[in-house]
């Protein structure tokens, strides 16, 4: 049973989130560091270079690393303050087992034995697939590889998937279909060298801030900027052309832009004929998508759509960038394909300053989706159903091909199966689905049905509170390894300090578990370097070929772009040069995209579009960033952002508490009335738990191919609450986070940040 083992306030009191504001001993005591460790930020896919300052074997601060070419010292506030996750009072220091009154510390031997016994008992009773593995895209390449191998060889389950399912899979699936490879087509340096940047569904200023610099460097040379977004984000504010698209209509808009491009004579016929296939179907499919015909539905005047097409045709070199804004949809893959269609039709790819990229969101969102922790994938971005790929990997792992499991369930499907009782046990690392999956009430109900749930984490996340067993793992700065940035650049994560207390490096925990499960001979690694070496060799001949990449080469070159198929190969910063694509015939594929409306559209009962996303001071489910005081202080609570016209109609004033209700549940939060969003759309950031969780409102609707959730469109209604807010009786509903309401005045759950100095005790 995985209900909360103790009252929520008791768990929060013991395990946080509490806020850390200062290095150990305070700023005055910091002094000069003993060493500076050149590594990378632990948060988003930009993976900025940064130096961690270490004193007395503790991380005490950061300094910009100006020599690293991607960000040249630039950082966002998360990168500056990330070191405050170290020496944190909430840090898990010992294995914890659920008791009748909370969690109790146990030894590693007891903990590992318990996992083996419970997992094996479940698998004996209900089959190998009754246990699933959930993994994460913040893990290094080494750990991502290890998790896939662990699931297939040690557990023998076909169900392993990762939280990149909530991030990159729509773009990945579309890229694979169109190009035969899933990687940003161009290095970021090409953004600075282009003549037109088209950004769709990406609040780059908040979600990938360093990309802002690349866009401005292009504009300093005279490049134009078009931004497509329902919100007037900081980068959109300065755009030459801003298209405030109605959420869920991206593919229709892109079809209309392509239609206008064709009408303007902008198709590169030679490129299309020589390097692509399928354009005639696209041309036919969008015949009716004139800017005039779609204007009302996409929410943009036809003249502006034509303006976009004209700017695109006129620019000799273009860079099309998109992110979750067009991908988090029940039509996510189609939305991406509609963008790629425009790029291919105009031949604007595979040249310096000219191409296409999806802006990967998670820290290792790229590498984390290549090496086998996805339900349908084997290392080297191989296909688990491809007989050649299966035989290759099985031979190198030294197992019969027939023993390799087949395609498993995606992360959302795993939760559906947990809910239905088909999956009884869960082994999880680096994933906080209670906050990050849609329809949080359903996720919680699923967690409560598990027979056995073990999780490896650094803090007791909202999801980990439901575990039977919690194993204290390592922070990014506590282990060696590599990640692959949004550019496709493989870079080195360097260890700054040891894990504190009894906490252990993640790879060691996984290998120890494998040993307990009787697969020790296949997990006999001396450390991450040995794991990388196996991954590197095994990727040879795969799509994501790392075989020519070594840690030493990464350090010498400040990163190596894959594919890199030989030790003397320099890596491949730009794909598709000369119009050579990764499909066997070398041609890119067009895909005709017929517009489908969002899975849940507005109606009389729920007349407002809800879209969700991130803010600059928080990262994903907030397990780390909701513990960093200065970041929490930026915006301690989520607010619902709405346009003054909508606010007037609803009778809502700025700052007033409102109730936002969808078919799944409701939230009460403060209104932020701003004229920088479409009047038919409201926005709520999703980083918070419980009664502040935007994902209580979102729906379990998925892209049919990629299974990415529709986080960017849900239908809601909004009612003002009486001033003061607290007096309003809440309708009955289940508090998703876990039962008891937050105690008044709790520093984190209640809202106001606690004063500096509250946390900072050593491990």
């Amino acid at each position: 049973m995985a209900t909360l083992p103790a009252p929520l306030e008791q768990l929060i009191d013991t395990y946080g989130p509490h806020l850390n504001f200062e290095p150990p001993g305070g700023f005055a005591a910091r002094g000069a560091p003993d060493r500076r460790v050149e590594t990378h930020c632990c948060f988003c896919g930009q993976q900025c270079g940064v130096k961690l300052l270490v004193k007395d074997e503790r991380v005490v601060g950061v300094e910009p690393w100006e020599e690293f070419p991607f960000n040249r010292g630039k950082l966002c506030p998360k990168g500056v303050k990330r070191y405050l996750q170290n020496n944190h009072a909430d840090r898990l220091l010992h294995p914890l087992v659920r008791t009748g009154r909370g969690f109790a510390e146990i030894s590693w031997d007891e903990a590992l034995d318990l996992v083996a016994e419970r997992v094996q008992r479940l698998q004996r009773r209900s089959g190998p697939d009754s246990v699933a593995v959930l993994s994460g895209a913040s893990l290094t390449n080494e750990k991502a590889y290890l998790m896939g191998k662990f699931a297939r060889l040690a557990l023998g389950t076909r169900h392993i998937d990762y939280n990149g399912r909530l991030c990159m899979v729509a773009a990945g699936a579309a890229n694979l279909k169109a190009f035969g490879i899933d990687r940003a087509a161009n290095p970021w340096a090409d953004i600075a060298a282009t003549d037109l940047v088209l950004v769709l569904g990406s609040n780059v200023s908040e979600c990938s801030p360093i990309t802002t610099d690349y866009i401005w460097r292009a504009r300093d040379r005279g490049a134009r900027l078009i931004v497509v977004d329902p919100r007037l984000t900081p980068i959109a504010r300065t755009a030459d052309l801003y298209l405030p698209v109605r959420p869920g209509r991206d593919a229709l808009l892109m079809n209309a832009i392509l239609h206008a491009v064709i009408r303007l004579g902008g198709v590169d016929d030679a490129f299309v004929a020589r390097h692509t296939a399928g354009f005639d179907e696209v041309r036919r499919a969008i015949e009716h998508c004139t800017p005039e015909a779609v204007a009302q539905e996409v929410g943009i005047r036809a003249a502006r759509i034509v303006d976009a097409a004209r700017l695109w045709v006129q620019a000799p070199r273009t860079m099309l960038l998109h992110a979750r804004g067009i991908e988090h949809h029940s039509t996510g893959v189609d939305n991406v394909l509609s963008c790629i269609n425009l790029v291919l039709a105009t031949g604007k790819i595979g040249r310096p300053g000219c191409g296409y990229a999806t802006i990967t969101g998670q820290g290792n969102g790229q590498g984390g989706r290549e090496h086998g922790q996805r339900c349908n994938q084997l290392p080297g971005a191989r296909d688990i159903e491809n007989p050649v790929h299966r035989a290759d990997v099985a031979a190198r792992w030294g197992v019969p091909e027939s023993s390799l499991p087949r395609t498993g369930k995606t992360a959302p499907e795993i939760f559906e199966a947990v809910h239905s009782g088909e999956i009884r046990g869960l082994v999880s690392i680096c994933f906080n689905p209670l906050i990050s999956l849609p329809d949080a009430a359903f996720t919680r109900a699923a967690l409560e049905r598990l027979d056995f749930f073990v999780t490896i984490d650094v803090f007791l996340s909202e999801t980990a509170r439901h575990a039977d067993l919690v194993l204290p793992g390592s922070l990014q700065e506590e282990d060696e390894g590599t990640v692959t940035s949004a550019e496709g650049r493989v870079i080195r994560i360097r260890k700054a300090v040891d894990p504190p207390g009894d906490a252990r490096p993640d790879w060691r925990i996984i290998c120890d578990l494998a040993r307990r499960l009787g697969a020790g001979d296949r997990f006999d690694f001396s450390g991450p370097a040995a794991i990388f070496d196996e991954l590197r060799r095994l990727s040879a001949g795969g799509v994501a070929d790392y075989s020519g990449i070594t840690w030493e080469k990464i350090e010498r070159q400040m990163g190596v772009f894959w594919p890199c198929p030989a030790l003397d190969h320099p890596g491949t910063p730009r794909l598709f040069e000369g119009g050579r694509f990764a499909h066997p015939d070398g041609r890119a594929r067009f895909h005709a995209v017929s517009y489908r409306p969002p899975a849940e559209d507005v109606d009389e009962e729920y007349p407002i579009i809800l879209t969700t996303g991130r803010i600059v001071s928080q990262f994903l489910s907030g397990t780390q960033t909701r513990r960093i005081g200065p970041l929490v202080a930026h915006q301690p609570e989520p607010r619902v952002e709405l346009h003054p016209r909508l606010a007037r109609r609803l009778g809502v004033a700025d700052g007033q508490r409102v109730r936002v209700t969808s078919r799944r549940g409701h939230l009460e939060l403060c209104a932020h009335v701003v004229a920088t969003i479409r009047p038919d759309t409201v926005f709520i950031p999703y980083h918070w738990p419980g009664d502040r969780s935007a994902n209580r409102l979102t729906l379990r609707a998925y892209d049919p191919l990629a299974k990415i959730p529709s986080f960017k469109v849900a239908a809601v209604r909004i009612e003002p609450l009486p001033p003061g807010g607290d007096g309003a009786p809440a309708p009955p509903g289940d508090p998703v986070e876990g039962g008891a309401p937050s105690p008044p005045g709790d520093p984190v759950e209640g809202g106001a940040p606690s004063p500096p100095g509250g946390v900072g005790g050593s491990s």
Binding site: F21, E22, G26, F27, A28, R30, G61, V62, P64, E66, N71, G73, K74, L75, C76, P77, G79, V80, K81, S205, E206, P209, I210, T212, D213, W216, R217, R219, D220, G222, V227, L232, T233, P234, I235, R237, T238, A239, D240, L241, Y242, P244, R246, A295, Q296, G299, I300, R301, R304, V616, S617, P630, P644, D654, V673, V674, A675, T676, R678, P679
Partner: protein, 198 residues
């Protein structure tokens, strides 16, 4: 070669990396000497960092009764000397840019001194090093003129009064000075949102 700070509010994305980085500077004790404001959030996402502009004839120096604020040979207006500052707040009231703050409890004036610790050893100020949008740039005037379309200006018109500063702000190429207090024109993007169909 004179290194100067150039502020381009048009590029500012409001992320507060400058504030957070400033607070990490040795000697700042976790306190930022730079502040970031959203100028009119109900209608715009425009934000702007405020740093000490290091005036050629600093009002803060002129009004300090304790003679606590010194100007170094490079024209950097330094934070008030702790042993002299009497916390009277004259400087805070006099500054045309609203920069100096008097710290409650300590009763001392604090403000940006252009990262004296870092610039003295050839490093850029923390804020300009980390700024992810280039809203804060540290370098020579020739560099910034070479890299950007916007032009650096350091003459500010407060009504009839003109203030000349060591730091520059970046402005559209045609401008020759900044009329402080003039309303910001609506950007094309703000106009495009106004036209949206819904």
């Amino acid at each position: 070669m004179i290194l100067e700070l150039f502020v381009d509010a048009n590029r500012c994305i409001g992320c507060r990396a400058c504030e957070e980085a400033c607070s990490e500077c040795p000697g700042h004790g976790g306190q930022s000497m730079i502040h970031l404001d959203f100028l009119a959030r109900p209608t715009s996402v425009q934000s702007a960092p405020t740093v000490c502009m290091h005036c050629a004839e600093p009002a803060c120096v002129a009004v300090c009764p304790a003679d606590a604020i010194r100007i170094d040979p490079d024209g950097v207006v330094l934070t008030a000397m702790a042993e002299r500052c009497i916390g009277c707040a004259n400087c805070a009231l006099a500054c045309p840019f609203g920069v100096p703050k008097v710290l409650g409890g300590r009763e001392l004036m604090v403000k940006c001194d252009l990262c004296y610790d870092r610039t003295a050893v050839g490093q850029k100020p923390m804020c300009a090093t980390v700024c992810p949008s280039g809203a804060l740039f540290y370098g020579t005037r020739a560099e910034v003129e070479d890299l950007r379309l916007a032009r650096p200006l350091n003459r500010f018109h407060f009504g009839d009064a003109v203030v000349v500063t060591r730091n520059h702000i970046m402005a559209p190429a045609a401008s020759d000075g900044v009329a402080v207090g003039a309303p910001a024109p609506r950007t094309p993007a703000e106009q495009h949102l106004e036209e949206a169909l819904w």
